[in-house]
Each structure stands twice: as structure tokens, then as C-alpha cells.
Symmetry: C2
Subunit: 180 residues, 2 copies
């Protein structure tokens, strides 16, 4: 009656990785809304059933893949200067979504978002909390403000207006958030 032991290494890992590469290629080639599971399976050299049983459908697969594209374990900027840290963090995310592939994968996964408690951007919130925490209680920003004023504008642009993700967007957003 205990939870089944997950198998994450070896063949399973290889399959997952092949799927990820296949998805990347196909999203680039045809756009996220046109990738189908049989297509991914063929490209990855994997059986379609494996994908169906793991995710169920394409948006769920994309949503899950999008979640891990910006490495959740990467180290966060920590210079001690809140403004600098925020700018670096925001800049990293802007850079990420400036790559059309990343923006497209995000878009392809959104139909699944908001229906479960787990959204593909939950990692950003974790990071925001960490940065706030490090800045100490004296800090004037909350994680919620970071989400609303930094992440939301970046993601909004990535999804709907990708051509407006310019290089100094991060700095502009941070400047608006922090008192001069």
C-alpha cells in the first residue's frame, strides 16, 4: 500500500531526454500548437504509448517540459545588493524567453495551466521568495510584488508580445519597483 517506487534513471531518463529534444525540434519547426504526441514519439524513437501514459496529452507534456527548462537548481544572484540581484535575476529570465523556442514552449503549455495547483512558473515564485528572504526583513519588496511587477510583465510579453522583450526590460522593471 506504500507509494510505488519511481524509476527515474537509466532507460526512463534516456526516454525522457529523447522526448525533450524531439519536442524542442518540433516546436521550432512547426510551432507549439502543432506538435502531436505521435510526432514526438517518432522523432524521439520512442513508443507513443509511453508518452500517453506519462502525460495524457500534448499541452500537459509541454507544460511539464516548460517547467524544467530554466534549471530550478541554478544558483541565484547573491551580491548582497538587492537591486543588483533583482536585475540579474530578471535579466536571466528575459534572456530565457527571448529565445523563441522557450516562449513557444511556454505558450504551448498554457492551456493546461491554472487547472491544477502546479503551474509551470512555480519555480519563479520559489526564487522570488528566496531573494526576498536573503534581503532580510528590512527589504521593501515582497515576493508578490516581484511576481506582479517583474515576472508578470516578462511572461506577458513572452506570450503575447515576444518582440518587445528587449535587453533592458529587466532594468526598467526593477527601477519601477525599487525606490530610487
Amino acid at each position: 500500500m506504500s507509494a510505488p517506487v519511481r524509476r527515474t534513471g537509466g532507460r526512463s531518463a534516456a526516454v525522457l531526454s529523447a522526448i525533450r529534444y524531439a519536442v524542442e525540434d518540433l516546436v521550432r519547426e512547426r510551432g507549439a500548437e502543432k506538435v502531436t504526441i505521435p510526432m514526438v514519439a517518432e522523432r524521439a524513437g520512442v513508443n507513443p504509448t509511453s508518452i500517453y501514459r506519462r502525460w495524457g496529452d500534448a499541452p500537459a507534456m509541454l507544460n511539464d517540459i516548460a517547467t524544467y527548462r530554466l534549471d530550478p537548481d541554478r544558483s541565484l544572484p547573491q551580491t548582497g545588493d538587492l537591486r543588483a540581484d533583482l536585475t540579474a535575476w530578471a535579466g536571466e529570465i528575459v534572456e530565457h524567453y527571448r529565445k523563441p523556442l522557450n516562449a513557444a514552449i511556454l505558450r504551448g503549455g498554457t492551456p493546461m495551466a491554472g487547472e491544477r495547483e502546479t503551474d509551470c512558473l512555480r519555480n519563479r515564485r520559489t526564487e522570488a521568495l528566496q531573494i526576498v528572504e536573503r534581503a532580510g526583513t528590512a527589504s521593501q519588496v515582497t515576493a508578490d510584488e516581484m511576481i506582479d511587477q517583474i515576472i508578470a510583465p516578462i511572461v506577458y510579453r513572452a506570450v503575447f508580445l515576444p518582440w518587445t522583450l528587449d535587453e533592458d526590460l529587466a532594468a526598467r522593471l526593477v527601477d519601477r519597483l525599487l525606490p530610487a
Copy 2:
């Protein structure tokens, strides 16, 4: 060689309207990512081909329908007080996306967003420009700031964190944007 004359009234209008209602029902019943074109066609009492030829696929259809759900011709708040106008405008949009149906339709259409110049939120930008314009040159806010700090947070939450769209979100966002 001139552009073909579009037919927007009569039967075409009836078909479009039947499709819209069918989409609403089906999104409510099964979620946006599960509605298929044949399904919509049947429910609307319309031939599937009509839908295929008009939009090509489901995300494109949803994206288009999402664009017109908040009436672009509704009158904007215009009390003369910028803060009041902004709050009313933002509140209207929050209310809109608090309805799960509207949020779901938005999500269902996003895979198509960002690929063409026309996104399903362009009307919000038009409205922002109008409000800024009315406020006169003395105004301290730009349309871009309104998009980044009002629309983006609302839409971000609608898509990824719909349960956080609370009633006073609009007021909070406006307060952050406008100097006290």
C-alpha cells in the same frame, strides 16, 4: 484583383454566433484544451468545414474568440480622475477574468498568440492609450506602464494563478502605479 468583399451579416453572422455559444458551452464542460472543431460544429449545428476554412484549427479559433469577449466598443470610465478611471478599468478586466470561462478561453488561445502581429489582448492596449490620452500630457503614466503593471499582472494571474484574482487586486495594482 481587389480584396474580396467580406460578408459579415446574415447567415455568416448567425453561424459565427452559434459557434461562439457552442465554444462557451464546451469550454465550460470540458476545458479549453479539449474542445475540438467537429465537437463545436455539431453543437453549433454548423458544418465542420466552415470552421476549418475560417480558422484552420482550434487554438486559432479560441484566440480569435477571446479577442472579442470583452466588448471592444464598450465605453471606458471617464470621470476625470485618473486614479478612479484606472481602478474602474482594471476592475472591469479583473472581473472579466474572474469568470473561469473567460480565463479558460484565454488560455486555450495562447498557443497561437505571439506568432502574428495581432494578439488577443491588443484591445487592452488601445484602451490604455485612450485613457492616457484623456488624462492629458500632465499625466505621469504611459500606456506601457499600464500594460506592464496593470494588464500583465492580471493576465498572468488569470492564466497561471486564477485563484488569486481577488476583488481588490485592481485597486492594489493602481496604488502601486500611481504616487500616493
